[in-house]
Amino acid sequence: MALKLTPTRVVAAVVLAGFALLPLYAEIVGNSFVLSLGTRILVMALAAASLNLILGYGGMVSFGHAAYLGVGGYVVGILAYHGVTSAWVQWPIAVGLSAVVALVIGALSLRTRGLYFIMITLAFAQMIHYVGVGLYDYGGDDGLTLNARSDFGGLPNLDSRPQFYYLCFALLLVALYLMYRLVGSRFGQVIRGSKSNDARMHAIGFPTMRYRLAAFVIAGAVCGLAGVLLANQADFISPATMHWTRSGDLIVMVVLGGMGTLMGPVYGALTVLALEESLSSLTHYWKIIFGPFLVLVVLFGRGGIAGLISRWERRK
């Protein structure tokens, strides 16, 4: 890999460097809210990255991806409620359960295609949402406040905002690297080939269903991890996190950032959340700006942000 300074790489480096330096900036300016916002962006970037694997690269439009955020978050919340706060116990269970749920949903849904796939993933997510609503003892529709964050028994201390922030940043970097390796491998090629023409991949001899299901499970597990982080960041988890509109938010992030690109989910999460924050402080009716903005991006912004960067790169 030659170290060519292409715009794609430069922008990626600048953005990642910006994230790395944010805690320093927050310290100087004395504003911890910026750090909270930054943590939230990192966590959503992780969730978007997991969705990007199946949506961006694999063409599987899952409208139920936010369910895994909920599964991961609720495992942490429920265990904390019962006094189990050790991260070494909570986190593997959360990620594992997310993987199992993804396995079940994937096995049933991946038989369908197109709008039917969208609807059946939405249906499963809604079912999980209503399970959350029915959890009477754990707050039901009003959600569950975490009385304590996950405890690693030393470092990293999640109650320290900078430490938590860097943990999320590190996990995001690891996930992005894993995506990079995965997509470049034969596994990734099968997934991408299956997106453009599944019949052809089948004809070549790949059992595409198994590959796609594996990708689905990996995406679900990573999103479950994002859910764990989200619950810790917000000290709160509620069924609203699993509503289909939240899955829609994730899809927006992936598409806006640039589907099927490595940094796309990061750009998407950053843009959506930063826009939400800045627009909502301008006016309470910010959705009236955001709505048409979304429409315009879809109509004219082919390939999202990453796509624009690479188009600019090609023009140079």
Partner: protein, 391 residues
Amino acid sequence: MSMRTLFLAGAAMVALGVSPALAQSEVKIGFITTLTGGNANIGQDMRDAVELALDHMGRKMGGKPVKVIYEDDDQKPEVGKQKAEKLVQSDKVDFVSGFIWSNVLLASAKPITDAKVFLVNANAGATQFVGAQCNPYFFSTSWGNDQMPAAMGELMNQKGVTRAYAITGNYAAGRDMVQGWQNAFKGQVVGTDLTKWPDQLDFSAEISKIRNSNAQGVFFFFPGAHGIQFITQYNQAGLKDKIPLYSVFAIDELSIPLLKDNGVGVFQTGPWTADLPFEANQKFVADFKKRFNKVPTFYAAQTYDAINLIASGVAGVKGDLKDKEGIRAAMKKANIQSVRGPFKLGPNQVPVLDIYQQVVEKAPDGGYQQLTVSTVLKDSVSAAASACKMQ
């Protein structure tokens, strides 16, 4: 576009980061309520009350100018929580008030009280904060969710209702209400329905069940727009005169003009009515009507009291906002001209209040008005209050 987007994002973050370091020369109050969506009219009413309260006190507290930052919770707990964090960490407010919904309050309270900022709740009745989770930084000018229903149970006993049906939305406040009512109601509960909240708008199935039960009365809790829908559909089914409705929070000055004739004859117990005879109330209602061309709701009344309570706290320390203990002591004294008349706070820093029976009648000008009929409970305290360990 990418560069511009990145720049926008960066600018947003800079804008968020740079907060004026003039925190001490003015009193900053954050106000979290619902300003968009189907129940935005409630938030608007509360906002109007804040403005009126500030105008009545010359927009100064303890000699310092007051700045209010309004935030929209979109009726979602996690949005309310994010706004609470922003107000406390970025805008560095001295007080946070507002809160219509219990679930939003439940999610938002921790960041506020953890940062040692005073939360003066103006409506949400989550009993956690009235009882076990009471907190030196949590004040309320409203009540616990079980109190109005308990008064209604008492009223239904007084009226000789022996068989009743209960219906509300399936969320924490709804369940609290039904539970509170059931504890006080001495008759037989012939049916209970919890509807999908907030999605369900059509109550035909439940109303059919009510019609086929042998209930003598229906206790229901549906705030805001749901209340209007339920009452309208109930009357369309012809049940209005057959099985009377007993409500809490459904009839207020916002729903009365929309309900028109449908609101007449519905029994209700509530903490405040526009016709209460206290001097502060007369002034409040008259000025509100003159300025905003509508009668205030109890949401607005409680908000008016909340702003006045904050002002009493600031006045008590002569504007020295760093003196948290002093502010707390001053607010505990509850030395305000409340629209509810004599006003005092319990040891849990939540009001001890009278609960009235209310009724809607046709007004002489052709419209409708809500009137006080009688006092059902005097000096009511939530059942949860005993769990509060504060003195």
